[in-house]
Symmetry: C2
Subunit: 187 residues, 2 copies
């Protein structure tokens, strides 16, 4: 759990008491490569923190497996569109490598916000950062070409190719695997 609190400190330090209460609603969970952390159709009630390994959020569109996002060490993961609306998610979370996550019970977390203002602020800052990321991603999907998106991804995640299969990267970029292969072939 150390890694989580380390990360929190870097975002917005919280009181010892808040830390203690937060620790009580966290638990460590492990997943083998390729297994689902949360299945499709499940209402998201957990916020995860990646301690080791990496995960993706994915869903199916017309029987095609689409990767919505990746997360690596020290990142938070949740299916926002379910967590914040209470509706079941059409998306799943899957371990791409053998992965260790810290699971935070979101209902309990939201209750803690009443007692610990600083915890809510921390969480607000986490959401703000996630929001900024999605806004930037929209910009990239809206008018960058597929190969601009590919090379930008490599720039931001230097070693993503060593950890994530290309088929996941292709759908993440909004293209087919064949198309990605062409781009890589320097086409």
């Amino acid at each position: 759990m150390e890694a989580l609190f380390q990360q929190i400190k870097a975002i917005y330090p919280i009181s010892k008491e808040a830390e203690k209460s937060l620790a009580e609603i966290c638990s460590e969970v492990s997943f083998k490569k390729g297994t689902d952390v949360q299945p499709i159709g499940h209402t998201c009630k957990t916020i995860y923190f990646v301690k080791k390994g990496c995960v993706r959020i994915y869903y199916f569109k017309d029987a095609n497996d689409i990767t919505e996002s990746f997360e690596f060490e020290n990142a938070f993961v949740a299916r926002a569109e379910s967590l914040f609306t209470g509706k079941p998610s059409r998306k799943a979370i899957q371990a791409i490598e053998d992965t260790v996550l810290i699971a935070i019970d979101s209902n309990k977390l939201f209750k803690l916000f009443d007692s610990y203002h600083d915890l809510e602020r921390l969480f607000r800052k986490i959401i703000e950062a996630a929001y900024v990321n999605t806004v930037n991603r929209i910009e990239s999907l809206q008018f960058n070409t597929a190969d601009e998106r590919y090379f930008n991804l490599l720039k931001d995640h230097t070693n993503i190719l060593k950890r994530v299969p290309l088929k996941f990267i292709a759908s993440y970029l909004g293209i087919t695997q064949v198309s990605l292969s062409r781009i890589r072939a320097h086409k």
Copy 2:
């Protein structure tokens, strides 16, 4: 300012005191159709609420004017990637119609969060909703075809065609105006 507090009540009701303090950092501002509310290059320090009219956020990519988003009555508008990072924005906010906005000073707002926990919670919920919207938009840009995106937009914003020029809608959808014209001509 009534409309703003009406809207707030629907999201997360706040105390009278918080309302009063919030009102003190709000001011009403008007813009003629076509004018910039905030220019490119400016660091975003204001959160707007649309009282009347509509606005868009736009930027230039290779000298092409790209509309990132629209907002209509009772919505909040800000350039998140600048507001939450403190960096200057490459984007501008522009009035699409004659528009009346309520401007909220963001620095003062963030200070008020220390005194009014409920105000911060309200704001958190507003960001959460905005975040969910962008996540859904990514999904749509990632793998929907241009005409799926167009018809979904019409479904969600029934009268957008009466209020927003097609050239803005085209770039919002991630396509050229010519391409949108073809889709409308029933392909």
